[in-house]
């Protein structure tokens, strides 16, 4: 009986051990059934988007249905969490079940394009001529365009008027890094936190750091340049001098916003998408663009999704997919969608319509100055640069390395990743 028992235990132990391995692969078996495409004849077209917060009664889903109806097909829409979407799409494409239209975060476009998952616009005849070139660049690789932005958002500095007033800071005086530091010092002297940022060890951390990185004149192809060191030193002193909360190292952009929303923080580096929350924050706020080191507006990274058309076995489907994409990105619909999603339009026409709202004006300016992370033909090199970059930010801010040492390590590992 003893041995039988222990054998059973061995089996149990073995099984438990095996489950370790299955955690990684389990995802691959679970997603196969979701949102399979029917044949062209059935007239059902699938659309995947990263907006799970919108249900069937929302304006967004109703727009999708309307676009389907005018293209003469039924639309089957599935919303995914944005962090899940990349692996879901890769797995679906592996099994030949990619959706007809895919709306996906812009830095992922080049990854999916390199995976051969996306068609380029020469095959689908999607018209991208009206799109602002700085926004379209994130979806371009080796001279081909792999989608069209549905809208864009980016980062700027929100400020709390009450805090700034109490500290005697005029927001208009913040024009470069030196004047910003002066303002932060005054806010700290008045007993409040200077600025909330997110320096978390994920893509969000790189996203937040990039305006300062680019604003210093640094380039993603050289992470250890003196300009890059300047940018990281700026952030490091913020943490060291108590201008920014130490928790920035673990804050997502949502939690860093929550710190700003307590009313105890002067500035917040955050995105267009917080505008509706800012209106609810209960204190007067303002928005200024992120200053570059020596004045002027720093290029902030563009956020926002691209509408793409994944590769299908049946190429006859592209004609209808193109109609759906055209419908979604037509000026009127794009305006409705961008308003619903809190985005700035990707075309001049939409931006002009939006400029009647004074709240959006600073954001339109910020988006016009913005830059795609995968632009400059970085494409899938970007992820291999971004991870060392956010690691360097974490290393310097936590004090485990000096800014220049951390960036040297980052440059070495980015260079060795090819």
């Amino acid at each position: 009986m003893k041995t039988v028992l222990s054998r059973r235990r061995l089996a149990a132990a073995g099984l438990a051990a095996v489950t370790l391995a299955t955690t990684a692969t389990a995802c691959s078996s679970s997603s196969s059934g979701t949102g399979s495409t029917g044949s062209a004849a059935s007239g059902t077209y699938t659309i995947w988007d990263p907006y799970p917060q919108y249900d069937n009664s929302s304006a967004w889903v109703q727009l999708l249905t309307k676009c389907g109806t005018s293209a003469g097909v039924t639309v089957k829409r599935t919303g995914f969490d944005t962090t899940d979407l990349t692996s879901k799409v890769l797995l679906a494409a592996q099994q030949g079940k990619a959706p007809d239209v895919l709306i996906v975060d812009n830095p992922v476009v080049s990854t999916l394009a390199e995976a051969g998952v996306l068609t380029d616009t020469s095959a689908t005849k999607v018209d991208t001529s009206a799109i602002e070139p700085n926004l379209l660049a994130a979806g371009q690789l080796n001279g081909k365009t792999y989608g069209t932005p549905i809208g864009a958002n980016t980062l700027a500095l929100y400020y709390n008027k009450n805090v700034l007033q109490a500290a005697g800071v005029d927001p208009a005086s913040v024009k470069d890094w030196a004047s910003l530091n002066t303002a932060l010092a005054k806010i700290k002297a008045a007993g409040k936190k200077g600025i909330s940022i997110s320096a978390i060890g994920t893509e969000e951390g790189s996203f937040q750091f990039l305006p300062w990185f680019w604003g210093s004149g640094a380039n993603l192809t050289n992470l250890s340049s003196p300009q890059a060191v300047d940018a990281l030193t700026l952030w490091t002193t913020w943490i060291k001098d108590g201008y920014a909360p130490n928790a920035a190292l673990q804050d997502t952009q949502t939690t860093s916003w929550q710190e700003f929303a307590t009313g105890q923080v002067g500035f917040a580096e955050n995105g267009t998408w917080q505008l509706s929350n800012a209106k609810k924050a209960g204190f007067p706020y303002g928005i200024i663009p992120i200053p570059a080191k020596n004045g002027g507006t720093a290029p902030a990274p563009t956020g926002g999704e691209f509408v793409t058309v994944p590769v299908q076995g049946d190429t006859a489907r592209y004609a209808t997919s193109e109609k759906l994409v055209a419908c979604l990105s037509s000026a009127d619909n794009a305006y409705t969608t961008d308003t619903a999603l809190g985005y700035i339009g990707a075309t001049q026409a939409v931006q002009q319509k939006q400029s009647t709202d004074s709240d959006l004006v600073p954001w339109i300016q910020a988006v016009q100055a913005a830059k795609g992370r995968t632009s400059d033909n970085l494409g899938t090199k970007y992820p291999k640069i971004s991870q060392p970059l956010w690691t360097a930010v974490q290393a310097a801010l936590s004090g485990s390395a000096s800014p220049s040492g951390a960036l040297q390590t980052a440059q070495n590992s980015a260079a060795s990743a090819k």
């Binding site: 222990s6 099984l15 370790l20 990684a24 692969t25 592996q94 673990q250 992820p383």
Partner: protein
């Protein structure tokens, strides 16, 4: 009950039929009887296979196949292109050498061992202490014991987020308490010196109930008579613990520790939610590293990610085998 007593002997006899001890009388009385008996052998074997099939199929689909895929993933050089369109070249142990030469490997291995070792030690000792405490059946002991299960019942996302808020550098309640006590606040989650300790603390708290429940049930199976006899012989409290409780609890302790080990090795959620394995690699274990390689980046590195996952499986199996070995060598308890 009658049915089973009738069929069971026939099948037993059928199996032992080769010896022929009981076959002759049956053969003498009715020669055609051989037919049905052979038939019954077959049906019982079919029935056995029938019972085996569901579990075998389940294991094959949900354990063997994913395991095989993971192994395959770790032995090939996958890019996003070859992941989708197939044709990833066989890389042998290439992914494993990449992983082992990665600067993250040494710290991740050390953190995995420290995290597992420290968690197990404290979970077990505190769990045993509490089990002994509750074994005394005082008033409200059942209620209190039930309350101790709360950490186990909470979803990990809830407990890990709560820990993360409590340990927040600027607004966490722990630093507030330290401040009130006049101690310099600690950057629990954002300092490379503290982040590993913080996640270990949270994990110990979550693991205590598991140890408490198993060890408590182990204590219940120790006959009270032994303690009475020991008390008559003049054994003190410590002697009763070290001579009776601890040795008799050994089988339960061993399985508790083994299961705890396997759970702890693969802990991912707590660390990921609290620190994302950071800052830098200061709280990265194999489990979080594997996830980060496979899913934590815009450009997934499936091969190395799978390789790290497999290394974890090997470690877990190794300890499973050690467990079997100790079970064999210790005299039957």
């Amino acid at each position: 009950m009658n049915d089973t007593t009738q069929t069971a002997p026939s099948s037993v006899r059928g199996r032992g039929g080769a010896r022929g001890t009981s076959a002759p009388p049956a053969a003498r009385t009715a020669r055609p009887g051989r037919g049905p008996r052979r038939h019954s052998i077959r049906t019982s074997q079919w029935a056995a296979w029938g019972f085996l099939t569901p579990v075998t199929a389940y294991l094959a689909v949900f354990y063997a196949y994913p395991m095989y895929k993971n192994l395959d993933l770790s032995l090939r050089d996958y890019t996003v292109m070859s992941f989708v369109h197939g044709g990833a070249p066989f890389a042998g142990l290439g992914n494993y050498t990449t992983v082992i030469h990665d600067p993250t490997f040494a710290p991740a291995l050390a953190h995995t061992l420290i995290f597992t070792g420290a968690s197990l030690f404290f979970q077990y000792t505190l769990g045993l202490g509490l089990a002994l405490f509750f074994h005394q059946h005082f008033r409200l002991s059942a209620t209190l014991r039930a309350l101790f299960l709360v950490p186990w019942l909470l979803p990990l996302i809830v407990s890990a987020s709560t820990w993360s808020w409590m340990l927040n550098s600027d607004s966490g309640v722990v630093n507030y308490a330290l401040h009130l006590a006049g101690i310099t606040p600690v950057d629990w989650l954002t300092s490379p010196h503290w982040s590993l300790i913080s996640v270990i603390l949270a994990n110990i708290w979550i693991g205590i109930p598991f140890n408490l429940v198993l060890l408590y049930s182990g204590l219940q199976s120790i006959p009270a008579g032994l303690y009475e006899a020991a008390a008559l012989d003049g054994a003190g409290a410590w002697q009763r613990f070290s001579r009776i409780t601890f040795p008799l609890l050994r089988p339960v302790s061993a399985i508790t520790l083994l299961l705890g080990l396997i759970y702890t090795l693969k802990v991912f959620d707590i660390i990921w939610i609290m620190t994302r394995g950071g800052p830098v690699d200061s709280s990265t274990t194999f489990a979080t590293w594997s996830y980060r390689l496979g899913f934590g980046n815009l450009l997934p590195a499936f091969g190395p990610g799978a390789a790290v996952g497999n290394l974890l499986v090997i470690i877990a199996l190794l300890f499973g085998l050690i467990y079997i070995r100790t079970q064999r060598t210790t005299p039957a308890a």
